[in-house]
């Protein structure tokens, strides 16, 4: 809402700088985008051209002598209409105009001490300019006084504040509403609206009828004004519309907009002679056609409210009038419609067709009193500024509940919620300043809320009013006095995050929305993907299931920026519908490629075992040591089948790990994803001290030659069971293929640790165990001892 301060001053007597006013309004909850003058030009003065001759060295410039009162200035001017005797706007040396600063100078050898301005040069928005405003310099009337301020003369010395209002304050979409708000801030009374006009002739109800066929219209008033003369509006009306961002058209159309700005009630004027003698409000037929003011044929739905005459639609209620009954330059008689339409319906229709000043007001709600006030006010202005004669009477339909709300509240209520000790007298002062009436009985205040404040319905709303006007800045902050308690949180995710970071991975933050074509990547799970009903772009139309898709995109982004060492991870969500259940899983996902660590003469590239090490590290850290295994199974097609596995914890697959399939990328990129919700269901015992053996342990290395495709995990199992409880640790320390062993063989070297809690182990005991181990591996795995 753009507020003209001149307009505001019609209703409340204030003398405050426009910036200060904007700040003070902000403090009570009304933010603004812009606060300043309507015309931002400086050092302008009214002058008269007393002499005008052609410039000797130019075919279009003139040399003007301009009387500005104190002196006569030589000014070079290129406007075609510059001539002796006209009153003009002179920008003096040093004047600031939008986009330029005026300086004394020499123009083609002739001295020029300023500039003669056109209206356009004053900085009005383009849409407000008439052709003549930019064709030549402005010609002021002969009543303009030399030496005075031309902006004042043009009645454009106005202030403008562009407010960003909250959705609940529909009452502030009017000058009158603003006046009440400003009045409350500065404790000033609000002046009455002048509705005085004459009425004559046969009562409208005898010549015109109305019918409301829908509950989506709660109030409809119709009046008729005859014999209007369409012409240009008076300057003050034009300028106030411009300051409010509305383009002036003619006096009649301008008055409907002027009243809307003034009182917040949108009006519609019909050319009475093209309308017929009945106005009907009804819901549109599905598919009904209506050509609106902008000459566009609209196809309506049963959700749109339509204004019709006896036969067909003539306007789209609350949004835009119909072309057929538009007020034209030859219009003589006018039917005025002042109504209240359902805000939700208007919002839907206007969202579809056009958001306008009118629809915005209907959406926020209209005070029924204003409906009446506005139609009377329009009659008054049409009588005064369009020479109209108002027809007697009003056609009325009204099912609004026009009663003022009464709310009981105690002084204690206010101070309890605000945490204050505001004296009773000051609380009552707030209500008085706001123009609310009240009565006090003991501790209780009965507050009567004016109908304009549609936003106030419960006592909490009144408490907010007190805090606004009393000033939140005057409330001292403190902390709640409540029993002490321990705050709690599950730090598991944070621990995992910190661990991953300690392992050298960078944490990312990715978007969950992806293209529906990507949603089945990196998974063989059965689920129904979740698609958005109304996506912004097709690239982001579906909720991801696997996070690998997100991380792979991040990898590609970085790769294309010459980054080679990429180790990243993220804890996030994957979404699905499985059966009838909509759900989301928390996942830990990582991607690694390039160098993992580096140093002098020493670096390590990421390979399957590096990323597997990360997974094992996390699982061990979470307490799953000894409870997980890596199982080779069918993999999603984006994963290398030879370098991948399902991560299985206690018999449940909780994730996958593997290299990205060479058909996806030539690079060595490794990923894993673990479903944390699934993993963390597996309970972990308490961390407890275990006795350390007091006796020395014995280490034995063993190298076994096995089939090339043999799996170490299985051999380890055999070794473990053969070694029994005295075998306390197994580590793989070498894999060898090549000369010395068969071509289809490999050698795996294990380092075994034996120890006994109760005694020192003898060589004999250990050697016996070693023999058992060799025998078992030979039998069960076909292993041979490497010589």
């Amino acid at each position: 809402m753009k507020l003209s301060t001149n307009f505001l001053k019609d209703y409340v007597d204030i003398d405050v700088d426009v910036k200060q006013l904007a700040e003070d309004m902000t403090r009570v909850g009304n933010e603004y985008d812009y606060a300043g003058k309507l015309i931002n030009a400086t050092k302008l003065v009214i002058g008269e051209i007393v002499e005008c001759v052609d410039h000797p060295d130019s075919d279009h410039l003139h040399l003007c002598k301009v009387n500005i009162g104190k002196e006569i200035l030589n000014i070079v001017c290129g406007a075609p209409n510059a001539r002796k005797g006209i009153k003009v706007i002179v920008a003096l040396d040093g004047a600031e105009l939008p986009g330029k600063t005026i300086k004394k100078g020499i123009i083609r050898g002739q001295e020029s001490n300023g500039m003669l301005c056109s209206i356009a040069e004053l900085g009005l928005e383009h849409k407000f300019l008439k052709p003549e405003d930019s064709a030549g310099i402005a010609e002021l009337g002969q009543d303009a006084k030399i030496g005075e301020d031309p902006i004042k003369y043009l009645q454009m010395d106005d202030g403008v504040i562009d407010f960003e209002l909250t959705a609940n304050r529909g009452d502030l979409l009017s000058i009158l509403g603003m006046a009440y708000e400003v009045g409350a801030i500065y404790d000033k009374p609000v002046k009455k609206v002048d509705l005085e006009h004459k009425e004559s002739g046969e009562d409208i109800n005898k010549q015109f009828s109305i019918e409301v066929k829908t509950e989506n219209c709660k109030k409809l008033l119709v009046k008729k004004v005859g014999n209007v003369k369409i012409e240009e509006s008076p300057t003050f009306i034009k300028n106030r519309l411009i300051a409010s961002g509305i383009r002036p058209i003619n006096n009649v159309v301008d008055i409907s907009n002027y009243v809307m700005l003034e009182l917040g009630q949108p009006l519609h004027f019909y050319d009475a002679d093209r309308l017929g003698n009945k106005l009907v409000v009804r819901m549109a037929e599905e598919g009904e056609k209506l050509t609106t003011l902008d000459n566009v044929e609209r196809t309506l739905s049963a959700e749109d409210i339509v204004i019709a005459d006896k036969t067909h639609g003539v306007g789209l209620a609350g949004v835009m009038g119909g072309l057929e009954t538009e007020v034209e330059p030859d219009t003589k008689n006018i039917i005025i419609e002042s109504a209240i339409f359902d805000s939700v319906k208007i919002r839907k229709t206007s969202k579809k067709i056009l958001r306008s000043e009118a629809s915005n007001r209907f959406e926020k709600g209209i005070d029924p009193e204003r409906t009446t006030m506005a139609i009377e006010r329009a009659c008054k202005l049409l009588e005064e500024y369009a020479g109209g004669t108002v027809v007697t009477g009003t056609a009325k339909y009204d099912v609004t509940n026009n009663k003022e709300k009464e709310i009981d509240i105690t002084f204690q209520d206010v101070n309890d919620v605000l945490g204050t000790v505001i004296p009773n007298k000051e609380i009552l002062e707030v209500f008085r300043k706001l123009g609310f009436t009240y009565s006090v009985k003991g501790e209780t205040i009965k507050v009567t809320v004016p109908t304009r404040r549609l936003d106030i319905s419960i006592k909490e709303d009144l408490i907010e009013e007190v805090s606004r006007i009393y000033g939140v800045d005057n409330i001292q902050g403190k902390l709640p006095v409540v029993p002490m308690r321990q705050g709690s949180y599950d730090k598991t995710q944070r621990e995992i995050r910190n661990r991953m970071i300690a392992l050298g991975l960078h944490e990312t933050l990715s978007y969950i929305l992806i293209n529906d074509k990507e949603v089945n990547e990196y998974t063989l799970d059965e689920f129904e993907p979740l698609k958005l009903l109304d996506p912004i772009t097709e690239d982001r139309n579906t909720l991801r299931y696997s996070m690998i898709t997100s991380l792979y995109k991040i990898y590609e982004y970085n790769k294309s920026r010459e980054q080679k060492d990429i180790s990243i991870f993220e804890i996030g969500k994957g979404f699905y519908k499985k059966g009838e259940v909509y759900g989301e899983d928390t996942k830990l996902c990582a991607l690694m490629t390039g160098r993992y660590s580096s140093g002098l003469n020493n670096f390590k590239n990421v390979d399957f075992y590096v990323i597997k090490g990360v997974v094992e590290e996390i699982l061990d850290y979470l307490g799953y040591n000894g409870r997980y295994s890596f199982i080779r199974k069918e993999m999603p097609k984006e994963i290398h089948p030879g370098q991948s596995a399902y991560i299985n914890v206690n018999g449940t697959d909780v994730g996958i790990i593997g290299k990205i399939h060479p058909s996806v990328t030539k690079d060595d990129v490794y990923v894993f994803e673990i479903n944390l919700d699934e993993l963390l269901k597996k309970k972990v015992g308490k961390m407890k001290y275990k006795e350390i053996s007091k006796y020395p342990s014995i280490n034995k290395d063993i190298a076994l030659v096995v089939d090339k495709n043999a799996v170490s995990q299985n051999i380890e199992k055999v070794i473990k069971s053969a070694g029994g409880s005295l075998l306390t640790n197994i580590e793989v320390f070498d894999i060898y293929t090549g000369i010395g062993i068969g071509a289809d063989k490999k050698s795996i070297a294990y380092s075994l640790t034996f120890s006994d809690m109760k005694k020192t182990l003898t060589d004999e005991e250990v050697n016996n165990l070693m023999e058992k181990i060799i025998e078992a591996t030979s039998k069960k795995c076909g292993a041979e001892l490497r010589k």
């Binding site: 309890d416 605000l418 001292q476 902050g477 949180y489 599950d490 960078h506 944490e507 979740l530």
Partner: protein, 349 residues
Amino acid sequence: MESKIEELKKIAEEKIKNIQNSQELQDLKVQLLGKKSEISNLLKGLGSLSPEERPKVGALVNKARTEIEEKIEKAEKKIKEKMLEEKIQKETIDITLPGTKIQRGSKHPVNRVIEEIEDLFVSMGYDVISGPELETDEYCFERLNLPQGHPARDMQDSFYITNEYLLRTQTSAVQARAMVANTEKTPIRMICAGKTYRREDDATHSHQFGQVEGLVIDKKERNVSLADLKGTLEIFVKKLIGKNCELRFRPSYFPFTEPSYEVDVSCFKCGGKGCSLCKQTGWIEVLGAGIVHPNVLKINGYDPEKFGGFAFGTGLERLAMFKYGIPDMRYLYTNDIRFLSQFDRKDEE
């Protein structure tokens, strides 16, 4: 005899002096003191001496032996020192060469801010809770006093999956969940940070963004008030943005709180004088807050006559941007390694 012993000592001393390394010394030791050495021979020959001479000469020989032993020991020590010295010399390296690069990961700035907020509020007795990102209309809107057709639903244009399910537009949905989940209807102190989604995408809005939400509900008689909210948010802002920040509460409108406020912080860049960051106003909007609307209490099973409290919420990206001086919100979602890896150390206290 005596002179012979003296002579032996002298020769031994001379030889020890010329020793170069431990091997020579070992050899010399054998030569001088071994079974075949002259000293040993002298001792062996004691038996042929007269009983009077025997102890005298014996003492002399033993003394000489001890003296030689001591000399050898000294020489041994010296040689060891020399060898250590040589070893150290040999092992001395260029300590200005870089250390092995042990890969160090980094924590995303938004998660850094979340952790800081969580820690702060846990220290004040709040519980950290979370809720689903795929939310129902009921929890995201209905239970927050935003019935169907409410104009404020427009302010949060949403990503619906079905008529019922949508991506949550606000972490406030978790407020409703916390109240419903508390079947005993006991006081609540909670904080919740997480991802939220709205149907908008431009330079200053991302369709996915982070929010944090706080809620305190307590018995009416304890009067959890606007003043308490102010005090709480003062602590929050001073911890997250800066000790010298001033707060400004501006009355505003949210359907789930009444009264409602937007909370501005004095511009930390210009100190309130006005600059490009604060758009010349001296203030930066950071939080939305208010007293929990009685309807919200009622809908979620708390009697507004018996309970009251406050709620607040804020965007996480802006906090992260302020804290680390990140100029563009989109950087937080681009995941450029060169960006991420900058956040690889401990935050200053």
